[in-house]
């Protein structure tokens, strides 16, 4: 589904990513874990088309996409839940969701799916987003991305905007979306413990490079990962 090969992204003179290789299969749930500043968000931004790529290739469903503008990538089946949600604060919940479905002809069934996943959004559909709580905004950001009916969902640091007890619940939602709809999900997550509890595979990112990758079980059992990211 998604193949990233030798991805190089730089900010000014500093390279944020120095040759990252990464893969997400059809219907796979994959996490990128690593410390703050390791480059997790940059990978997702590059895949979504929000950062220019300086080297390497991104293939999505067999097509090279690293040169396409972000809006064309949405049409191919990519959707992003950005860090902090970045919902449109001066618009209503409903308008935010309609924007999520900007490329979709019949958004109605997607709207029903989103409302069934997050009933609170239905209750507040006419409310201005600026008045929502942080957790509600995060749910809206996920709902908004789902409105595009993506084949690959990119999720950036979803646990940061949520109350701790909601984190497993939301991560479980991604698993359900995968199980029920065959959606692939790529998470960038600082909360390695929660992430490795739900995903199939993971990549450990360190200073802009993949330090380690493997199945969730392997990573959970790895002594280095345990020490550095699981706090055990």
């Amino acid at each position: 589904m998604l193949e990233v090969e030798g991805l190089v992204v730089g900010y000014g003179k500093i390279a944020a990513l120095m040759g990252v290789d990464l893969e997400v299969g059809e219907g796979e749930l994959v996490a990128i874990i690593g410390a703050n500043g390791a480059g997790k968000s940059t990978i997702l931004a590059a895949i979504a088309g929000l950062r220019p790529v300086h080297g390497g290739a991104i293939r999505f469903r067999g097509r090279r996409i690293e040169g396409l503008p972000s809006w064309s990538r949405v049409r191919l089946g990519l959707a992003l839940v950005p860090e902090g949600g970045r919902v449109f604060p001066d618009l209503s919940v409903e308008k935010n969701l309609r924007l999520g479905a900007f490329t979709v002809r019949e958004p109605k069934q997607h709207l029903e799916l989103v409302f069934s996943l997050f009933p609170v959004l239905q209750e507040r559909r006419r409310q201005r987003v600026g008045t929502l709580s942080g957790g509600e905004r995060q749910m809206l950001a996920i709902g908004r991305a789902l409105m595009a009916d993506p084949q690959l969902l990119l999720v950036d640091e979803v646990s940061m905007g949520l109350m701790p007890k909601l984190v497993p619940e939301v991560l479980e939602t991604f698993r359900r979306l995968r199980d029920e709809r065959g959606m692939s999900v790529l998470l960038a997550e600082q909360n390695a413990r929660e992430a490795l509890a739900v995903v199939d595979r993971g990549y450990v990112l360190k200073n802009g490079q993949v330090a380690l990758h493997g199945s969730a079980e392997e990573l959970r059992a790895d002594p280095q990962v345990k020490q550095a990211y699981l706090g055990a």
Partner: protein, 287 residues
């Protein structure tokens, strides 16, 4: 009822202010640049309509339509040909570029059409309304009706269409709008087209009303449109229209007072200074 008559003058003036400033506020809302050349577009509208009337057809509506189309395209050209390449730079760069374009446009008008005033030979073809309380000339009537029609159409486009939704998203988070699948290049170009066509229309209406077209007709307008944008709360379309009307009212009523010897065109700046001192975010909130 001199007050009612004054109110008619105020509305006509305020309506054109709103019409010009709306395009400016839309551009500011999305790209966060001060589009000074917008006032050049306003004057361009008047010149295009004038030359259509002189050389093509005496029909006012034809002249208005051609002027709006041309100014709309000119706006897109300024965006795609110039601003587009300066957006990643510091905001002072597009500002200076914009002032340069504005000056160049003024000189172009002077070179092509001459440095003198032209009269504007069009008849609006509407009746003059005479009531016991006030008179609305056919030109005033035309301006009021057309401005209302344009602004209602703009409101519907902004709030009821996909393109309007895309603009609202762009003005709040351009990058995220792109990530939603909005073709940002097109959305911004269309935004320039519409805003510029409205400014062009305002130029035509003002040329008709004052019966004159001249190279620097955009000068005072350039400053005043900024005042309206600031009063309206930077980027808010509704606020901008209200602010335009308010400025029209304040100018007309203060200007009609006998003891008020301040130059009329300076009132806007007095208001601007007061507002910036006490309500720096403008009088009206965001739409």
């Amino acid at each position: 009822m001199a007050v009612l008559q004054q109110l008619i003058f105020a509305l006509v003036l305020g309506a054109t202010y709103g019409l010009i400033a709306v395009g400016l506020t839309m551009v500011y809302g999305i790209l966060k640049i001060l589009h000074v050349a917008h006032a050049g577009i306003y004057a361009l509208g008047a010149y295009i309509a004038l030359s259509v009337l002189q050389h093509l057809t005496p029909n006012f509506w034809g002249a208005l339509a051609i002027a709006m189309l041309t100014t709309g395209l000119a706006g897109v050209l300024i965006y795609r040909g110039v601003y587009y390449y300066t957006l990643r730079r510091s905001r002072i760069v597009p500002l200076i570029v914009s002032i340069g374009i504005f000056t160049a446009m003024n000189e172009l008008f002077r070179l092509v059409a001459g440095p003198y005033q032209h009269s504007f030979p069009a008849k609006p073809g509407l009746p003059t309304l005479i009531t016991p309380y006030f008179v609305i000339t056919s030109k005033q009537l035309l301006i009021l009706i057309l401005t209302a029609a344009f602004l209602i159409a703009l409101y519907l486009i902004l709030n009821r269409t996909k393109v309007g939704l895309a603009w609202q998203a762009c003005s709040q988070d351009l990058e995220m709008a792109g990530a939603m699948g909005v073709n940002v290049d097109w959305a911004v170009a269309l935004n320039f087209f519409l805003g510029s066509a409205l400014a062009g229309a305002a130029g035509v209406l003002m040329a008709l009303y004052r019966n004159m077209v001249y190279p620097t007709m955009g000068h005072v307008v350039a400053y005043k449109a900024f005042v309206v944008v600031v009063l309206g709360g930077f980027g808010s379309v509704r606020g901008c229209i209200l602010a335009g009307l308010l400025l029209g009212v304040v100018e007309t009523f203060l200007g009609s007072l006998e003891w008020f010897e301040f130059p009329r065109d300076a009132i806007a700046f007095l208001v601007l200074i007061l507002v910036l001192m006490f309500r720096p975010k403008g009088l009206f909130g965001r739409l």
